[in-house]
């Protein structure tokens, strides 16, 4: 595989819930070491897109290729073991388990070589809470724990769902720096975010969705001048 080959190619992705077309033919690709920003008004299908790639449900049409192979028929846990992971918009920790145990599950079941969950907690800044139940963390700590769980599987493709929401400015800039450093180490990232200036600090490549469709794809600076994008954000 040449270094230019994309790690993820999504082609004509479709997903409907009853009569609602949450994804109506979305296409894009991401290369190793690259960050793609994904924006769009509420309900435009961003989370559905992450759910489709991570295998929460089967799509109704289109293809998802990872490292050149179609993966849309693989169950989620197999995709995880191949190196795909994600965070959740609303954190979903194992509330009754300790912080360390939360990360340990992923470190144990990712397949392949062992990962030390304590190192991951240190990196993410939760080491001092290792033995507390996840239930006792506040919501931004729970978001960090979700990221730690994903990192424990050593993802090559990380899908990040609105991790900036609810963070204060200091936390936001360190999060932006953190995501960029993952990309510098070769990880590919899809970063879903409402906050445009957060996205601006993370990447210059942007995809804007509206009602399940791709509205814009290109440089972030151009998006802010694109009349359709402005309309979708102000009108939506």
């Amino acid at each position: 595989m040449s270094p230019e080959a994309p790690i993820l190619e999504v082609e004509g992705l479709k997903k409907h819930f009853g009569g609602l077309k949450a994804l109506d033919g979305v296409s894009f690709s991401i290369h190793p070491g690259e960050i793609l920003g994904l924006a769009g008004p509420n309900g435009s299908g961003k989370t559905t897109c992450i759910n489709a790639i991570s295998g929460v449900f089967r799509v109704d049409g289109g293809q998802i290729r990872y490292l050149g192979q179609p993966i849309q028929h693989l169950p989620a846990y197999r995709r995880v073991r191949h190196g795909i992971n994600r965070t959740f918009q609303v954190p979903r920790p194992f509330l009754g388990l300790t912080v360390l145990e939360n990360v340990m599950v992923a470190a144990t079941y990712r397949g392949g070589r062992n990962v030390n969950p304590r190192h991951i907690l240190e990196d993410i800044g939760l080491a001092e809470h290792a033995d507390r139940p996840a239930r006792s963390l506040n919501s931004s700590q729970q978001k960090m724990l979700g990221l730690a769980r994903a990192l424990a599987t050593h993802p090559r493709l990380l899908l990040v769902d609105e991790i900036g929401a609810g963070l204060n400015p200091v936390e936001l800039s360190s999060m932006a720096e953190r995501l960029r450093s993952y990309a510098e180490q070769g990880m590919a990232l899809l970063v879903v975010e409402h906050l445009m200036d957060f996205l601006d600090r993370v990447t210059d490549r942007l995809l804007v969705m509206d009602a399940g469709n791709t509205l814009f794809s290109g440089k972030l600076q151009q998006a802010t001048e694109d009349s359709r994008v402005i309309e979708a954000f102000l009108g939506g």
Binding site: V105, G111, A150
Partner: protein, 306 residues
């Protein structure tokens, strides 16, 4: 070695010594047998309910399947009761496999569908048209293998097996994954856990324990009817014992059964007219004041319960 495994070894030793020596000073063998049986059932139920969070209201279905599976092996194949007990365990596992699709349902729907499945099994077994196989409503009688002592020691063995199994799971990475499934199945699969497979394994292990216990019970009493081994009361007792002791632990189901089954028998013998009242009161108080069972009292004080 995980601490849980060491604590389990201690619990196993105490249980073994108790049921070997108590018969010398207390001669109600049937009560001791039932105590062991409920302890085993409570541990078995705990594997699926306590460890993965699915509560099967029809757990007794596995018990009945085991009792009938064992009885058929004795009646038609003329196998020794020890082999028949294993057949009973196998029959319950088979029923468990058939019921795996129930896991598509969540929460209360799963519980109720499982209850319906157990009832369906009861009506199949009790159907007069199947008299040539199951004796239908007229019941099973196994005088040819009558041996209460043999059944007693077999039940003790099954109880110890259930204990070792529970302790092993709790201290292993398998147990950690089950806990993750219980807390959040989606996050578990996003951690690389094969939720469907691990949940099915724990379901079948849970069924196995009930099937073995059911077959041994049938052997012990040697005359029984469909309603004896499919009676919902057995399932309700088991659920209450597990809840009272504390779900998700090895010690909880044992202690819960010891205290509650002991208390019920004491009340039932001394003042039978108050039995139902006290039974109901205990359940109400439990739900109100001790939803996480007796072991939560210890956990609250920072004591690690195996």
């Amino acid at each position: 070695m995980p601490k849980t495994w060491r604590s389990t070894a201690v619990i196993v030793a105490i249980t073994l010594l108790t049921f070997v020596f108590v018969p010398y000073i207390y001669n109600n063998q049937f009560l001791l047998f039932n105590m062991m049986m409920y302890m085993a059932l409570a541990l078995g139920l705990n594997i699926i309910y306590g460890y993965t969070g699915y509560l099967p209201f029809g757990y007794v279905g596995f018990f009945g399947a085991g009792a009938y599976g064992g009885a058929l092996a004795i009646t038609f194949l003329h196998w020794s009761p020890y082999l028949a007990v294993i057949v009973g365990g196998g029959a319950a596992v088979l029923v468990g496999m058939i019921l795996i699709p129930l896991f598509r349902l969540s929460g209360a729907y799963f519980s109720i569908a499982n209850l319906a499945a157990a009832e369906a099994l009861y009506y199949i077994v009790a159907n007069p048209h199947l008299e040539s196989i199951t004796q239908g409503p007229y019941g099973i009688s196994l005088p040819q293998v009558y041996d209460p002592n043999g059944a007693y020691w077999t039940m003790l063995f099954i109880l110890l097996f259930a204990l070792v199994l529970s302790g092993f799971i709790r201290g292993s990475r398998f147990g950690l994954a089950l806990a993750a499934i219980r807390e959040n199945p989606l996050s578990a699969s996003m951690s690389g856990v094969n939720v469907v497979k691990l949940r099915s394994i724990s379901w079948l292990l849970s069924a196995l324990v009930a099937g073995l216990a059911g077959a041994t019970f049938g052997w012990y009493i040697s005359v029984f009817y469909p309603e004896t081994v499919f009676g919902l009361g057995i399932g309700v007792f088991t659920i209450v014992f597990v809840l009272f002791g504390g779900i998700g632990t090895v010690l909880g189901p044992i202690v819960g059964t010891l205290i509650l089954y002991g208390a019920y028998n004491y009340i039932g013998i001394s003042t039978p007219q108050y039995f139902q009242l006290v039974y109901g009161l205990i359940i109400v108080l439990l739900v109100l004041f001790l939803p996480n069972g007796l072991v939560s009292l210890a956990k609250r004080r920072g004591i690690d319960v195996p």
